[in-house]
């Protein structure tokens, strides 16, 4: 039951070409920079893992995190709600050149599709996007006089998550608003990989305070001094 791995390479080394990868974070808040960095490093050395589908709220900023993955050429498709940022160059260039695919999903629908996958619910109805371009081709039904659009679950092979505390059984807490999509992605991915600022023994997190129960987590690595994406951006860093 010890889910702790020795290092990031041991935790992420089996992510393959063509994998679908959920990455926690909303902008820089909750972005698992070190886990992403390990994938980029392996891709630069070996050419793998490439042709990835990346699921996140955004599509990267500057030359850090998901933007660096896109710049490296390892992302074939983004599934996101808002592919704009203060510096969206990496995604925008490739998108306008037709070199990256985009599936644009309203933010609440994106969250619920991920939650539904984690909860074993293949489809659900939402009022969001009814009558808009983003509902084209989707089944519509009427409930109590209002129209709703059918949306499907969104699964992934892997989730990469940044946590504050983890215990060895995989129970997690987060830092402030950094949790955003992470508890949902942890449920929806076949393999959930967590970087935690600190790993504690079982019992080291009060059960009343656990945000993500360990059943949703597969692998944990300690990253004691994680980088913060926004801070890196403001320093003009590249990854």
């Amino acid at each position: 039951m010890d889910k702790v791995r020795a290092d990031i390479e041991a935790a992420t080394g089996d992510i393959r070409d063509g994998a679908s990868v959920m990455i926690g974070g909303f902008g820089g808040s909750g972005a698992p920079i070190e886990l992403i960095g390990a994938l980029i490093e392996r891709y630069r050395k070996t050419g793998s893992p490439g042709s990835l589908t990346v699921i996140n709220n955004n599509a990267g900023n500057g030359a850090i995190g998901i933007a660096a993955m896109i710049d490296a050429g390892m992302v074939a498709k983004m599934v996101c709600s808002f592919p704009r940022s203060s510096d969206p160059r990496a995604f925008t260039e490739r998108y306008l050149a037709g070199r990256i695919e985009l599936e644009l999903v309203p933010q609440g629908t994106l969250a619920e599709r991920i939650r539904a996958a984690g909860a074993g619910i293949p489809a659900f109805y939402t009022p969001t996007s009814y009558g808009t371009q983003l509902a084209e081709g989707k089944p519509v039904a009427e409930f109590e006089g209002r129209h709703y659009v059918q949306e499907r679950w969104l699964k992934a092979d892997v989730a990469l998550i940044k946590a504050e505390l983890a215990d060895r059984k995989g129970n997690l807490t987060y830092n402030k608003a950094a949790r955003n999509f992470a508890p949902l992605m942890a449920m929806a991915a076949a393999t959930t990989i967590v970087q935690a600022r600190r790993i504690v023994e079982p019992g080291g997190i009060d059960p009343e305070h656990v945000v993500t129960p360990g059943i949703f987590v597969d692998r944990i690595v300690e990253v004691a001094e994680p980088k913060q994406e926004e801070v890196l951006l403001r320093e003009g860093a590249k990854q």
Partner: protein
């Protein structure tokens, strides 16, 4: 009085209608300005889609915590009694009808309450964020906007020409010239600048302004 309200004055007018005790979501950008003009003595709890209820002003420069941001990815602070939650809970608050007021920006508003505010059409990178969820969430969905576009075309129209954010979702529009409710798929004029005749205002509006009951003077202090 000047010929039209400034953005700050539009925000001030919208803020006067937020009731004490309301849970409120303000859209990214211009709508965020509404918080500055919340009337004294009213308690308002602000929701941000990325997972905070009860956030406050920006921190002083140098004291930002970049894990504590709003939907516009700007740093915020917490009020006593704030709460964090994940994205599915956040949008349950939105779609589940738990918010009292959402205030959004607009490219176009149609007389039936259709809103276009997310895409200016092909040629750019499309980005929607939470706008399509928010328009179906709050009990009141208000829009703040200039009455006309930069080149003088009406933003209140019979039918939106740009891609829709939501169908029949807007309940009230605060513009630089007027306050307009949407009732039974019609624009009903509630307030207009005192210096402007109904005919002038109608000339700047792309659909019929219905007068149903009195029209008050839209009087806003210099802010």
């Amino acid at each position: 009085m000047s010929a039209k309200l400034s953005n700050a004055q539009i925000a001030w007018r919208a803020a006067q209608d937020i009731p004490d005790g309301a849970y409120v979501n303000l859209g990214i950008g211009f709508p965020e300005m509404v918080a500055k003009f919340k009337p004294e003595g009213r308690e308002v709890v602000y929701h941000t889609e990325n997972g905070i209820l009860g956030f406050g002003e920006a921190p002083p420069a140098g004291q930002e915590d970049w894990d504590l941001i709003n939907a516009g990815k700007k740093p915020v602070t917490l009020k006593p009694g704030a709460a964090f939650f994940h994205h599915a809970d956040s949008f349950a608050m939105v779609r589940g009808g738990h918010l009292d007021v959402a205030i959004l920006g607009a490219f176009e508003i149609a007389e039936n309450g259709d809103l276009a505010n997310w895409s200016t059409g092909p040629g750019s990178v499309p980005a929607v964020g939470g706008a399509m969820d928010l328009v179906h969430g709050a009990k009141r969905v208000a829009v703040i906007t200039d009455h006309v576009t930069k080149d003088g075309r009406p933003k209140l129209v019979k039918k939106c020409s740009l891609p829709l954010t939501g169908v029949g979702c807007v309940t009230r529009v605060y513009t630089s010239l007027a306050v307009v409710d949407i009732v039974d798929k019609r624009f009903v004029l509630r307030e207009k600048l005192p210096g402007m005749s109904l005919e002038e205002l109608q000339g700047l509006t792309g659909a019929k302004l219905v007068v149903d009951g009195g029209v008050k003077d839209l009087i806003v202090p210099e802010v």
